[in-house]
């Protein structure tokens, strides 16, 4: 028997919540954007009216205002969005315990078990859509299908405030004529490559022999082939409010462009301390490190490497991140934003293999130092102890990624 999978996507989530709370701007073009003074001046979400003016998510605020001079810019209020996100999940949990959030405003639901009880997947989708509208005052688009990929496709297919069913008898009519980049995990780079071999729609991708895709794209070729044919069998994970964390990262857009290695080093220290502290709080050690850099031409590069051993020591993370940065960045352009992320976790009480050629005592001392600093910062605030190197330019380093930012993008795998 086929599964019944729903994908629910809150339409223009941030903007919808803001419009709910500010009835006076509800009929105006509204965008939620960062603080231009701190150079976080991009559009995070826009409402339907702003969309008609061509305002796009991710573009700078000044550009959006050029397109739509009457645009109302609202500052983001993340705690409010978190609350609404929790409330939507509470509604989903009335139908199934298999609720897998995908970012703050989307989730998959496996309602196979309750579909018969509630009349079917479409009926549940319509009920969720109706309940969120009346209980929370925002709208959702829901996709119904037998796998997660097409369910997501369905929720993107018709917006806002809609239910789309993609069944085995109509998916070739609905999904296949659409451009290939509408499929999850076909980004601009993959799209370019696909177009290069004459694939423009999902249907063309689906009908391509799997072996050929494999030879062109490796294991991603197999994934793309399966996605396009609805052969995705990945389960919808069970919901528990403390989800398995796969990585911890922080990034920042600095108040001015970074121009030298020294600038970068300072900022990496702040980020590494935040990441390290968050890992220690949750009892993790990590072995994978990735550093992403966006230059002032808005071009992003991400590189990864591995630690020799599991670690959560801030200094080790910072040093390794700086090392990695120096390996790949060639300073063609100054840097606008930079981020680091640690992954591949183990619990911090796992036995570790001690290395004969490294000073383990030194490592233990560093751990103790970090723990002491954590306690101090918890009791007396984030800025009570700082590295001297950060004081060279306090305006550049005086931000607190740990407490100021809590929303992170997620990946499917």
């Amino acid at each position: 028997m086929d599964r019944v999978i729903l994908h629910s996507d809150c339409n223009c989530f941030y903007a919808s919540v803001e419009c709910l709370y500010h009835p006076e701007i509800r009929n105006k073009p509204v965008a939620v954007g960062g603080e231009p003074k701190h150079r976080h001046g991009i559009i995070l979400t826009k409402n339907q009216i702003a969309k008609q003016y061509g305002v796009k998510t991710g573009e700078p605020i000044w550009k959006a205002i050029q397109k739509c001079p009457s645009l109302v810019i609202v500052q983001p209020n993340y705690s409010l969005y978190q609350r609404f996100s929790q409330l939507t999940r509470k509604i989903y949990l009335d139908y199934t315990d298999h609720v897998e959030p995908f970012g703050i405003d989307e989730a998959w639901l496996d309602v196979t078990g309750s579909a018969r009880l509630c009349g079917g997947g479409k009926e549940i989708a319509q009920e969720i859509n109706r309940r969120i509208k009346s209980e929370l005052g925002i709208t959702v688009s829901v996709g119904v299908s037998w796998n997660k990929i097409f369910a997501k496709f369905g929720s993107d297919y018709k917006k806002p405030d809609a239910v789309t069913v993609i069944a085995r008898d109509n998916f070739k009519d609905i999904v296949w004529p659409q451009p290939a980049e509408d499929l999850l995990y076909v980004g601009p780079a993959t799209k370019r490559k696909l177009n290069g071999i004459g694939i423009h729609t999902v249907g063309e991708l689906a009908e391509m022999p799997q072996g050929y895709l494999h030879s062109r794209f490796g294991k991603w070729g197999d994934v793309l082939h399966d996605f396009a044919n609805g052969l995705d069998f990945s389960p919808v994970e069970k919901y528990d409010s403390v989800r398995a964390v796969k990585s911890i990262g922080n990034s920042t857009t600095t108040i001015r462009d970074l121009k030298t290695n020294e600038d970068v080093k300072m900022v990496l220290f702040v980020l590494a301390e935040s990441v390290g502290r968050r890992m220690r709080e949750q009892g993790f050690k990590g072995r994978g490190l990735s550093v992403s850099v966006r230059d002032n031409q808005l071009c992003t590069v991400t590189k990864q490497c591995k630690f020799e051993e599991f670690t959560s020591i801030s200094l080790e993370i910072a040093d390794k991140a700086f090392w990695l940065f120096k390996q790949f960045y060639n300073w063609y352009h100054p840097i606008r934003s930079i981020g680091i992320s640690v992954s591949d976790f183990a619990h911090d009480n796992v036995p570790t293999q001690i290395d004969l050629y490294h000073n383990e005592q030194q490592k233990m001392r560093m751990e103790r130092l970090d723990n002491t600093l954590d306690v101090l910062k918890r009791r007396f605030g984030n800025f009570c102890v700082q590295r001297a190197s950060l004081l060279e330019e306090p305006s550049l380093t005086r931000f607190n990624p740990k407490d100021e930012n809590t929303i992170h993008p997620v990946g499917y795998f």
């Binding site: 709910l20 709370y21 009835p23 609404f84 409330l87 009346s134 209980e135 005052g137």
Partner: protein, 90 residues
């Protein structure tokens, strides 16, 4: 023309039961008048599109008239008529 409505946070007298239920008993309006709630007719999560908010909506009968009162996290609000600066509104 429709009367404008705004979100007005209000002083409430409520009863908290040992099992966690909360029941509003009276609204203390800022004119100094206390409006007793005769009866709570309905309790459900709902959004207020007019006032702008979402929480638990209590449908109450006050002096024979049905009215909504919201509990949003730990604050109570009503859909008040008039303008925010107009203290006697409602």
């Amino acid at each position: 023309m429709a009367v404008p409505v705004y979100k007005k946070y209000v002083n409430m007298i409520v009863r908290c039961y040992p099992d966690g239920r909360i029941l509003p008993l009276a609204v203390y309006w800022d004119t100094g008048k206390l409006y007793e709630i005769d009866r709570v007719l309905d309790i459900r999560p709902a959004a207020s599109l007019k006032a702008g908010g979402a929480g638990i909506r209590y449908t109450c009968r006050i002096q024979g008239r049905e009215t909504y009162i919201w509990l949003e996290e730990n604050r109570w609000f009503v859909e008040a008529k008039g303008y925010p600066e107009d203290q006697d509104a409602g």
